[in-house]
């Protein structure tokens, strides 16, 4: 401890910038791992506590070691970079993980040369796919039936038209959709999501961001809540009787 202290002084000032923490090597190790953290990397098989103590020449408590391991575990969930492999090799093996980035598909063209794009949507138990064609008149066909016949209720038709209305392209696209499962409202919601996803290909990135902020591109996570034992429904309790 005395030798350690003596060697860390240089012209009256401590040598290491973390000297005043008391555990300069351990904390500088944590600091360096944080550096790599910010540069996106990963690690795997860990050194044991005794191996680490041997490497650092400092005594560690179990808490310190577990924190070090937790930090490396956290690193593991991130994608890896080739530059830092050498550094992490000292402590662990590398594991490569691909980062999933949402990419907008480009437009496709059919036999007549008309541009079209496909999208899929879900809502509760409904599953829908929509194909949006360019140069259209605003016709929407659902399962081979015209939208006006398939959705007699105004609310459902409003849901279908909302993406076009938001982008200002109401009479410009033709849509052909297929939908299954669920009820009338959830089918309408599923088709709305599908059309919004398909429209991303026709539109600029800024407008895609506007759509995302409007909530057109988010899958609605609400599903029917399960019924619990001792209750009549998910929330409804049995009638309370005083006696």
């Amino acid at each position: 401890m005395q030798d350690r202290f003596m060697e860390s002084y240089l012209y009256g000032r401590p040598f290491h910038f973390l000297f005043y923490t008391g555990k300069q090597s351990y904390y500088s190790l944590m600091h360096n791992i944080c550096d790599i953290f910010n540069r996106n990397l990963i690690g795997s098989r860990w050194l044991t506590k005794t191996e680490l103590e041997g490497m650092l020449l400092e005594k560690l408590s179990d808490d310190d070691y577990s924190r070090f391991i937790r930090l490396l575990e956290k690193l593991m969930t991130l994608p890896c970079g080739d530059i830092e492999e050498n550094y992490i090799k000292k402590f662990s093996k590398e594991i490569a993980v691909q980062l999933q980035k949402v990419s907008i598909e480009p437009l496709k063209y059919d036999e007549q040369g008309v541009a079209f794009s496909t999208g899929e949507g879900v809502r509760k138990t409904s599953r829908a796919t929509a194909v949006v064609y360019d140069n259209g008149t605003g016709k929407i066909t659902v399962n081979g039936i015209d939208m006006l016949r398939y959705f007699p209720v105004l609310q459902d038709r409003e849901q279908l038209l909302f993406p076009f209305q938001f982008l200002g392209r109401v009479g410009k696209h033709d849509t052909v959709c297929t939908v299954s499962g669920g009820g009338r409202s959830s089918q309408a919601g599923a088709i709305r999501l599908a059309t919004a996803k398909a429209l991303r290909s026709f539109v600029t990135e800024k407008e895609v961001e506007f759509m995302r902020q409007a909530g057109l591109l988010t899958v609605d996570p609400r599903v029917k809540e399960r019924k619990k034992p001792g209750q009549e429904g998910a929330r409804r309790k049995f009638t309370w009787k005083k006696r």
Binding site: F5, M6, Y9, G12, R13, F17, Y20, K23, C34
Partner: protein, 308 residues
């Protein structure tokens, strides 16, 4: 490692708590008679063969006023004559503070009683800090830090905010100073001689980039620094206690933009002060070595100095 490194540059008349090791004690005993006279500090005395010989040859000083003028005194006293020697005012402006969201405080319920003088007002329950006062306090604090860095003092950055721990440590490393953003062991300052070893040199300035610890209580180091007569500079938010901090800076300590601004400002002042110190020393050396007559011989002397 001779000479006393005083850190109370801007606090005339204040004394260091304990003498420390034996070699420090000898010089502090001679200063005991000078307590009535404002101390002219011997801080930052360079160690080298010529200087060590000169300091050994120098007699004990009875009183500061009777001392013959020493070139190093000019090095140390010259900055103290100006209110803003290092021109720290130009490093920041009110717009910079506003853009970095320094004026945003916490909600009204979290307000600390002693922060009320620094608060401009309250909008929708959120306190707004008075940036005019922040400007003044920031200028004083940066000026003080610069003086400490000029006199080769040890500066310790303290922040227990986990979000910015890495940023603070990087800042400290880049300006050649020290950082402590981890769990603070109780006797670090007050029990240093047992924890580290005898003859340790404690920090001369503590900079708090966040004066609360993880449980939202005042950081133990504020109280310990006050006990050990170490001056503190601290960023105080609307839920902090500014009492024991020597140079409080009322401002936001939770936004990343605000923290990056503070780190940038402290780093720039410290580096500027250190460069100024090096420049002045080199300039003095050249002046000392240059003979009083004509340019040609001066050039020869300068070449000689450069060769050294």
């Amino acid at each position: 490692m001779r000479g006393r490194r005083g850190r109370a540059a801007a606090l005339p008349g204040s004394s260091r708590g304990r003498g420390g090791s034996g070699r420090f004690r000898s010089s502090s005993s001679s200063s005991g008679t000078e307590m009535a006279v404002p101390r002219i500090l011997r801080a930052g005395e360079r160690v080298g063969p010529c200087r060590a010989a000169r300091s050994r040859a120098r007699p004990a000083r009875p009183a500061a006023l009777q001392r013959p003028p020493h070139p190093e005194d000019k090095l140390l006293t010259e900055p103290l004559r100006h209110p803003d020697f290092f021109n720290v005012k130009e490093l920041f402006s009110l717009k910079d503070l506003f853009d970095a969201r320094v004026h945003l405080g916490h909600k009204k319920g979290c307000r600390h009683q002693f922060m009320e003088p620094y608060i401009f007002g309250c909008r929708l329950d959120q306190d707004i800090i008075d940036l005019d006062q922040t400007m003044q306090h920031l200028q004083l604090a940066l000026n003080f830090t610069a003086h400490i860095a000029y006199r080769k003092g040890i500066i310790l950055f303290v922040s227990r905010n986990r979000q910015f721990c890495h940023l603070v440590e990087t800042t400290a490393r880049e300006c050649g100073e020290y950082a402590h953003t981890r769990y603070w062991q109780g006797g670090l300052l007050t029990n240093a001689h047992i924890q580290f070893g005898p003859g340790i040199r404690l920090p001369d300035l503590l900079i708090f980039l966040s004066s609360l610890n993880n449980v939202f209580e005042p950081h133990v180091a504020i109280r310990d620094a006050a006990k050990m007569n170490i001056p503190t500079v601290g960023v105080v938010d609307t839920n902090c206690n500014p009492c024991l901090i020597t140079y409080p800076i009322p401002g936001n300590d939770d936004s990343p933009t605000a923290m990056e601004l503070y780190c940038k400002l402290f780093k720039m002042t410290i580096i500027r002060a250190k460069n100024k110190r090096k420049q002045t020393e080199v300039f003095q050396d050249l002046q000392r070595l240059a003979p009083p007559w004509g340019p040609p011989a001066q050039q020869g002397a300068l070449e000689g100095a450069n060769a050294q």
